[in-house]
Subunit: 216 residues, 3 copies
């Protein structure tokens, strides 16, 4: 007998975690929209404002994640296992944190210009965040929409592979073309942070896949 | 019915974890005292000795954390949930590890001089570690001293915000003023490691807050 | 009464996790063999091929780890606690990931030459991976071979201490001898990644020690 089947006998109809997880996902999606504008806007003042907006989303994300953890501690059985809600909330919060770190590094380092591949990387981050948002909104109806959830996870995986190639191009170009070592140091760190955001998005896809395999 | 209420019916009066957690906290506090001296002492020999002393504290921390984990595996119910003891021991051990990494990088890189903001950062690390030590010593009396515990956690959060601003200043000054790229590379890594220490101290505050919300 | 003794009353003879953990360990050992060749081969084409081979091992590792996690979710009691199987699978997967990251950085950065200490570091990684493989193969017979398991864990710890000294030498030489700042940036990152691999191998040793203390 599977443990999940065993637990499901006691499972109440408590689904308050799903809207909370969806809220985290929408904070993440908003962060990624700001990030994309940050890396493509020419307006210095707007860019500083975008860094503040991203920071504000990160604070919001912390608050929602905190509420999820607190609620988990007060609830015996959840719509899906406690540990899965925790893992999903945590990993989405990680994506938001890394996006915020990218933005703060841009604000702090003030690089002269962005190398050509950063725009592609932030576009991938934006698309991946949208896939997460769509997936989070379908968790409540998992048994009926599992094929759509699977498609979101597959697309996240594809985006990560695309990002890998872009990241490699970006770093190779940087070492080839950047003449100022100080600019190279700054931009390498920003590009590596963008790649970390993609990796965290990919980890989120894996957590959703695990949930799918267990419950759908 | 809350799960904690449920569990508390079985909770024995086993409180051996509290002195062990307090011991980890005092190792951490000692590390932070050495770190502060390391970043402010002019005496090269004393500085090398301080790096060794910090490493010795890190080894001690590993041993105590190991004992906590082993004891957890042999104990059915703990004064507060097994996972919370584990989380608190782990995160304090992380702070000690990062402090040790800072010290080893100073020893290894032998930077010519410390930029002006590092002294402020290590002072914040020292203060944060003291708050953790005070909080750890009050865990055994949580229900009566929850207002004091809350104050320690709030102060840790405030220190982290203060450190954020100092860190940004430190990095901006470094890029503006350091003429040697090699020195810049070394000092940037040391400053980033100090900031990580502050972040881990802040995470410790969050774990204590979670424990407070659950049990106080 | 110890919780493990309690649980063991219900423990089935389900040992399918042991071959899966051993498989992960052998993927890790193979990665480390390729890594060592990568850092010692003079043939550029062979080196590019080795990076691809390491990547392929990393993909295999992901698949096996995924299977372990999925099986864990479908199994009530495991030969040793669910959390220990999870921890061991995860940490071995981490080593494989870091080895892959080393290789991809070599491929990406194409440093002009490896500093003299990298060969020693990869040799330590190779030896540590072999110790893990041997330990994984003895888990099924833990009660009889606990002295051998203990010896593997001790040797892993010794290797980590050896690597610490080599790492420090490597970084000091690099800062002293490398004249090109760009090469210094590249090689420092590769050496730091190699050191991370050693740290993850050491963490694997700690997880195995925990299992030993609990069950042997």
């Amino acid at each position: 007998m599977k443990i999940n089947t065993l637990l499901s006998m006691f499972a109440p109809k408590d689904v308050k975690f799903l809207p909370m997880l969806a809220e985290t996902a929408s904070i993440l999606a908003q962060s990624s929209i700001y990030l994309q504008e940050l890396f493509t806007s020419e307006d210095k003042e707007r860019r500083d404002e975008l860094c503040r907006l991203i920071k504000a989303e990160e604070v919001k994300g912390d608050i929602v994640t905190g509420s999820i953890i607190r609620e988990l501690n007060n609830t015996f059985i959840t719509p899906f296992d406690r540990e899965d809600v925790h893992a999903l909330a945590d990993i989405m919060d990680d994506v938001i944190d890394v996006i915020n770190r990218c933005a703060q590094k841009v604000l702090l380092y003030q690089p002269h210009a962005f190398p050509m591949h950063t725009a592609s990387l932030v576009e991938i981050i934006k698309k991946g965040s949208d896939e997460i948002l769509n997936a989070a909104n379908e968790l409540s109806n998992m048994k009926k929409t599992d094929f759509r959830l699977r498609a979101h996870c597959k697309e996240i995986k594809r985006l990560e592979e695309e990002a890998d190639a872009v990241y490699e191009e970006a770093i190779m170009c940087l070492f080839k073309e950047e003449k100022s070592t100080v600019e190279l140091i700054k931009l390498k760190e920003i590009i590596q942070e963008l790649e970390k955001a993609v990796n965290k998005i990919n980890s989120t896809g894996k957590v959703i896949t695990t949930i799918l395999v267990k419950y759908a």
